[in-house]
């Protein structure tokens, strides 16, 4: 897996905060092989201390830590740093995920997760952090979004979107690969007053899917994160705006 080396991930520091030795081992193995520099911390206070000492580029944070609540860790780190944080959590606690995202986390992973998912999310979050220059064109499979010219092409054919739909798609594209909570999207696109009206979002997503997806009942691009929000799928095999240092 030397792709990451090509992408210049060498030297990227990832801090893993988890009390489970097996998970730490797994993460270190996978991330090491991708060329990341891995630091470990077994509990919340060590995690915060390490964050200060190591200044990682990304933090993988387990929510179920023994000493400090994961949310608290996020809040404390967010007080002085914008470092991307991906939380690891157990499936049942969807509310926890939303709270973590609202508290400042960038993305989440549900245990048990596979290496592919992990790397995809890491890359999605890192892209933003490492390269602030927004990419002009998003392309994945049959979908192409040209942010500069405000054009959306599906299988080569241009489609017409309403302004709201376009804004929505653009938000998703600029955060490709990362999850966006309902609140975040509503606030961003419609404004703070719409935060309690998720059905507006659903309807628009539904419309968008119909236009953009080949089979809207099996969406391939706009993915629903149940109970949390939406995520635009990103392809990291060389594309999807992820021209990280090409």
């Amino acid at each position: 897996m030397s792709q990451s080396a090509e992408k210049g991930v060498a030297g990227v520091r990832i801090l893993v905060v988890d009390d489970e030795a097996a998970i730490l081992r797994f993460l270190k193995t996978v991330l090491d092989s991708e060329g990341f520099c891995v630091y470990k911390a077994e509990n919340g206070s060590l995690g915060i201390a390490s964050a200060v000492a190591v200044r990682p580029d990304l933090i993988l944070l387990d929510l179920g830590l023994p000493d400090i609540d994961g949310l608290e860790v996020i809040r404390r780190i967010r007080e002085w740093s914008k470092v991307p944080i991906i939380v690891l959590s157990v499936r049942e606690r969807e509310d926890d995920k939303v709270m973590a995202l609202d508290a400042g986390a960038d993305d989440y992973l549900t245990k048990p997760f596979g290496a592919g998912e992990l790397l995809a999310r890491i890359r999605a979050s890192l892209r933003r952090a490492l390269h602030d220059v927004p990419q002009p064109v998003y392309k994945i499979e049959d979908l192409e979004v040209d942010l500069v010219r405000r054009r959306v092409l599906v299988a080569g054919l241009e489609i017409q979107l309403t302004p709201t739909e376009y804004d929505l798609l653009r938000l998703l594209v600029t955060n490709a690969g990362k999850v966006l909570t309902h609140r975040q999207i509503l606030k961003q696109i419609w404004g703070a007053g719409y935060i309690e009206q998720p059905h507006v979002l659903r309807v628009n997503i539904s419309n968008l899917r119909r236009k953009v997806e080949k089979d809207s009942s099996r969406p391939r691009y706009i993915l629903t994160e149940v109970g949390v929000g939406y995520r635009l799928k990103a392809d990291f095999s060389g594309n999807a705006g992820g021209d990280a240092g090409r």
Partner: protein
Amino acid sequence: MTDIGETRPTPEAMLKLAHAEEEKAAKGKLKIFLGYAAGVGKTYSMLTAGRQLKKEGIDVVAAYVESHGRQETDALLEGLEVLPKAMIDYQGVLLPELDIDAVLQRRPQVALVDELAHSNAPGSRHEKRWQDVQEFLNAGIDVYTTVNIQHFESLNDVVAQITGIVVRETVPDLLLDQAADLRLIDISPDELLQRLHEGKVYIPAQATQALEKFFRPGNLIALRELSLRHTAIRVDEQMRAYMETRAISGAWQTRERLLVCVSGSPFSEKLMRITRRLANEMKAPWSAVYIETPGEDAFARENRERIWQELRLAENMGAEVATITGTSVSDALVDYAAKHNITKIVVGKPNKSRLRELLRPPIVDQIIRKSGQIDVYVVSIGATERKEGVPQKARKSFSLKGYLLACALVAGASLACWAMTPFFSPTNMVMIYLLAVVLAAVRLGRRPAITVASLSVVAFYFFFVPAHHTFAIVHTEYLLTFIALFTVGVVISTLVARGRERADAMRTREVQTASLYYISRDLAAAADTPAIMKAVRKNMQESLAAEPLFFFPDKEHLRFVENEGQLEPDIKEHAVADWAFRNLQAAGRGTATLGSSRYLYLPLKTSANVLGVLGLILTDEAGYTSPQIRLLLDAFAGQTAMAMERAHLAKQAEQAQILATRENLERALLNSISHDLRSPLASITGILSSLMEQETGLGEQAKQELLTTASEEAARLNRFVTNLLNMTRLEAGVVKLKEEACEIQDLISCALSQMEQQLRNRPARITLPPDLPLIPMDMGLMTQVLVNLLENAVKFSPPESEIDIKARLDKILLRIEIKDQGPGVLESEIDRIFDKFYQVPIPEGRGGTGLGLSICKGIVEAHGGKIWAQNHSGRGFTVIVQLPRHGLPVEEGNGA
């Protein structure tokens, strides 16, 4: 009194002894320092013994020691822990008494209590100090105490005879018999008199004169002998008991049982003491019986009180006490004796005049005549001091009306006869007077009947016998007539009266039996405590005109339980109830303990434990001391206790059954969970281990397949864990629906994406109407439902067969259908598949818990929806989920 068996000890006897030993071990031991007079040195000896104990390291306190200023006694108190006395305020005077609670709280090993026979000041918890001591013994505290021989209940009259002084403060023999140790403090009378002169003997100022009479040498010698003899008897008893337990054959006593009758007469007490002494010497048990005859109602209350006291006295002296009703005292007594294997009846020698004896054979003779095989001991009771207010027989109230009517009858009869003078001879006229007598006897009672008889004779004789209007008796025939009339009158009226009395007695008895029947019937139907309380209250009100209060224990403390709006009694009453509860004895109104309280408190006890306290207040004051009523109350309390125990046990049985059922279910659950957890783990472990083996010649493709399988199994395990967690939450009732407007297409696609791996070889067809509105539901949970249904569809249909997913709106309902091409389920089982552990029997033997469908059901129903299944003729099986469109519960009758 302990029964000494007639042959060698049976196993039962040994067991009884063992039990008694056990009980004794739990209770405190009483050691008595016995003397024959004040001043022999009992307190001194007790204190000396106490000091010795203290030297040996035993925890001793002087709970109540009266030194009366004697220096030597005071000296002995030094070094001993002396508990302060409680001061009871009685009419402005502070009287020192034993502080019971202080001792109970202090809990020494041994307490020294002086003067066991002392009467406590009014307002104390108990009437007598020996009752206080009994509380200590029950609490496990050993007690050393002093007592004089004249305080023994059974010897009270003998001592009175000897000394001329009646001692009022007595101690029941029962307590003294149970004493673990008796130490006789003996000095010669001369020495005692010496000490008296030296001023070493305490004499209360008021009693100087009486005690001078007491301290005569003759008295002292007799008393000394009495005390020595008593101690000897006790030693003898101990020896016998020893011999019995070790089966040493000795002179076994034949089994005697004595009986004495309590009648409320002044002789009863004396008779009882005599019987007690006899019983003591014979080592026989004895019973005291009170026979209630129907004429009782007219008795003054005093007498009833006296009878009650006498019965208690008998009980204190160790007798078995019973109350029976009957019309004839002698019949009832002999009857009882026969039934209870009495060998000797003790009666007092009567001293009525000869004449009265002829007219009314005294009871003694009746008893002797009827006693058959039973011996009758006739004892001399001595000079009769008539105690005040003792009516010996019921006195019917004087009714003027009766006599007037009697006169009227005679007048009427005379008139009638006068009218018939020309037709009948005088002899026949007598018949009319006879009729009058009979009428009077039946209607008016004995005395008016006798009056009529007498007046009739006079009238007849005066008016109609030749030599009219004179009183010369001409023929002796007429004397015969007179006697006949008189006899008829008396006999008939007596018969009628007796018949009525018998009927009354039977009625009373019937009422009491009926009330017991009603309460047992009502309690049998009562299943729980409130029902029991209700039944008891109803019956008490109807049968006894009493109001009950209920107290039940709440962990350690007794709590008043309100029943139908009763008010909680105040703290003092509560304390009495508490006492009754802890000491397993009746307390309160009408008892010797805390008798000034408003209510009478009976502990509800069964053989095993005490379940509470029943307090009651009678509307009729006399009831508290009536033996009949008390027995009835005890019966009520006993029944209530049994009913409560039964309710309690029934509940326990029910809980045990529930527990057993739950345990069975849990075991089944654990077994199947274990299977479902272990199976995928087994696959994963197997695959990983085989991949780790370097030597296996697995090609790349094989390895990929294995890895894929392992990955699938891991996903399957994950889904199972999710189901398990959901089930736990559903069971605990903590499923909180996070309802939000959801898009059905989104829901289905989420479920499909979770099942992506499973569905990769299967076509999944989705049919949705274009304009499905948003439906409120908990998306996460409903996704789980669809995932479970899809999993089932995959599991139970042929591989690569199609799965159909449809959704549509049906008026106010949303319908989602998932159809597979599998064989389906037996029609008879089609509803049961949603039960928790149901497993469809599959030939391939793929087992597993039926959790999936039951969780679907739980979640769907939590949304107010319905879920059911359908077989399709030919091929196919569909599960249908119906949800309310607007989040309202589905009405019955829709769908299915």
